[in-house]
Symmetry: C2
Subunit: 480 residues, 2 copies
Amino acid sequence: MPYFDAASAAPLHPVAREALLAALDEGWADPARLYREGRRARLLLDAARATAAEEAGCRPDELVFTASGTRAVHDGMAGALAGRRRVGRHLIVSAVEHSSVLHSAAVHEAAGGSVTEVAVDRTGRADPAAYAAALRPDTALAVLQSANHEVGTEQPAAEAAEACRAAGVPLLVDAAQSLGWGPAPAGWSLLTASAHKWGGPPGVGLLAVRKGVRFAPQGPADERESGRAPGFENLPAIVAAAASLRAVRASAAAEGARLRALVDRIRARVPELVPDVEVVGDPVRRLPHLVTFSCLYVDGETLLHALDRAGFSVSSGSSCTSSTLTPSHVLRAMGVLSEGNVRVSLPAGASAKDVERFLAVLPETVASVREHLSAPSASALSPASPASPASASAPSAPAAPSSAAPGLVVDALGKRCPLPVIELAKVIGDVPVGGTVTVLADDEAARLDIPAWCEMRGHEYAGERAAERGTAYTVRRREG
Amino acid sequence: MPYFDAASAAPLHPVAREALLAALDEGWADPARLYREGRRARLLLDAARATAAEEAGCRPDELVFTASGTRAVHDGMAGALAGRRRVGRHLIVSAVEHSSVLHSAAVHEAAGGSVTEVAVDRTGRADPAAYAAALRPDTALAVLQSANHEVGTEQPAAEAAEACRAAGVPLLVDAAQSLGWGPAPAGWSLLTASAHKWGGPPGVGLLAVRKGVRFAPQGPADERESGRAPGFENLPAIVAAAASLRAVRASAAAEGARLRALVDRIRARVPELVPDVEVVGDPVRRLPHLVTFSCLYVDGETLLHALDRAGFSVSSGSSCTSSTLTPSHVLRAMGVLSEGNVRVSLPAGASAKDVERFLAVLPETVASVREHLSAPSASALSPASPASPASASAPSAPAAPSSAAPGLVVDALGKRCPLPVIELAKVIGDVPVGGTVTVLADDEAARLDIPAWCEMRGHEYAGERAAERGTAYTVRRREG
């Protein structure tokens, strides 16, 4: 049963398991104590720190172990922002950072700080020039991920670090997704990572702060981990995290190349096998093991369940039917389709055979979800196709968009992603070339998916406006 | 090699080990994911929560897993204080809480809140009436440990809870030391605990918040654990923590009674075997497995090392030669001797044979440390003994205390605990009954240990005043 969601959590690496078991016996005592069990625990902790620091590219006394990658980000950002509070309270992040970064930024803003969110292009990559331009005299901290967790795109962290260095601003690089695959980008001032992403156990994050970076830990004082990570050290897991980091890095080049080829295969084959698919993320400057694509007229969660039944565990950035109801902020920032989104992240050791099986079952799985949703078939999308829009109404004055000629109106109010786009696709054949159709929708995903649909199908997205209920999205039909 | 420091960290319980191993295989995936590995992880997490909640005496949806007991306290106090900010910003703690509580209180005070620290008696117990009297209309939160971590004394948490209930103030009970031994005291509004204290793995704390208690999680938002404990769940450790809590609680009554008898034996025998010892903490209302005593004329760390060489791992609340240089805040609040402090906390399964061996080696170990420090022997302490105080000077006007008749002055400036007390003991025989001796000292422990020495030896402590360097402590000799 192939598990293809390593970017969420990787199965425990055998070296991690072995190290954890040994450390459960040898490293359960308090490393701050003076007796032999404590000294033994201290030796294990010191050795784990030395190993992790070597892989992170820093000195052992620059690195502490936190309870998670999320805590490393929370506490790293809070400490760096507080440490440079006299310089100012401006923070730079990219729009596609992990939620732990964006939520930390929100807290900073709520407390009176200012935040610049640097936009990304359609591949999910922040423009280094835009990142550099965001630097201000009062910038206390800049944050940039090494690579994106949802679409795999590598960020220009080294270039950003260079600009930050020139401006005297520390850069926190969130290397959660990449540290298992190779060294962190050069030039970071603070580094964060998460062990369970590389096959270490959960419960361990890394926070490294370069000597000379002003850092003021926030929250109640605690003597553990240089005062930067409160609470009794999770030593067996720390030992396992360090040992597995070393192990995965030793084979990262070869395994990364192998998985990169498998991902290239997925990137190439999925658009050939499945109609109306958009593969997103940078095709070259990317993580080796991760690929994301979105399928028109598909609800991501239903697709996930269908793939799960077919034996494949993948994740999705679209959550039409889950409790959140908003599409992934990453896909939104990229301006790409969110519906029917699938992220495949291969764990180390993933087999070519399983990837081929995935490619074999994906087309029928997507087709069955589309059929269930009564989505238009690929052929039905041609202009000549007979459309029978159940909920399309005749042109109606009150709901008409502000375009010159009132066009067709589709009432998709109360319908969840991907239904508004499906309704739109069903009627586009009835719209004369150059004419418009307006979709009334109150599902948040429509704001992203209707423009993305236009981009994919070659129609013109003519804009949105608030309607009496929901939002009116207007599309002008092109030849395509 | 007997390990007698279970109150710092207990060795992993066999049930915890077994559960951890199983959960490493079954519970490494993200419990928030929809695929089978995620659902399996969610089932394990739900089951662990149900088990822990049952042992904690609450509903599963009232309990979250944190990364440590320290984090449970930090985040529990911060959330409760913020949740009741409109009521006021007054916080009540006892003077002998764990440092995580006192450091949280310090942060609260630094941010403009007010804190009442309820004093304790010489057994380390807070007076319930004093605790109740500290309640004010603007009290947002009260915190009281179930039992003290250094001396084992049980606090009147149920009485405090009753007073808090009457005043409409939530009480956070820190049950870190007691939850493995039995149910938490009745009436808590918030409860915290730490798994590695009961034989669970490190990396797991419990935070329970009763329904209806206003609680506003602080820090960056995070969807995990009801928004109360950010970061990816440390699931294998959580499963092990819950399983071992159930296991230790099943045998807690029998094992507690057995260890209670062993501790009673230590409490009775130590003063018989070792001269000039003070056994501290409540002799009856106490944790079953923990006993603390202090030895005059002994440096705690040296004694720890000597006991370690003799094969016994214990801890100490006196840290004369460590980096902190201040005696335990608990012993200070109790007003008892801090020097030569030893805490024995027996792990489950500790043998009577090992306890007898400890009692056998303790006298000679203490004696050797005293000899090394040239401490007065027990017989030398009698008034008739010839004293040869190397550093005692003739009465000198400038350093004389403010007492009517200038007495002997001992210059112990620059000398670390326990040397100031040793110097004092060496000269007391030269002081006429009713006369005074003044010790000049700049070691922080002297402030606690000189009055405690007076109490133990039946002399009158006549007070302290700032001297040109350090502090002048004056003692009036009594018959004793």
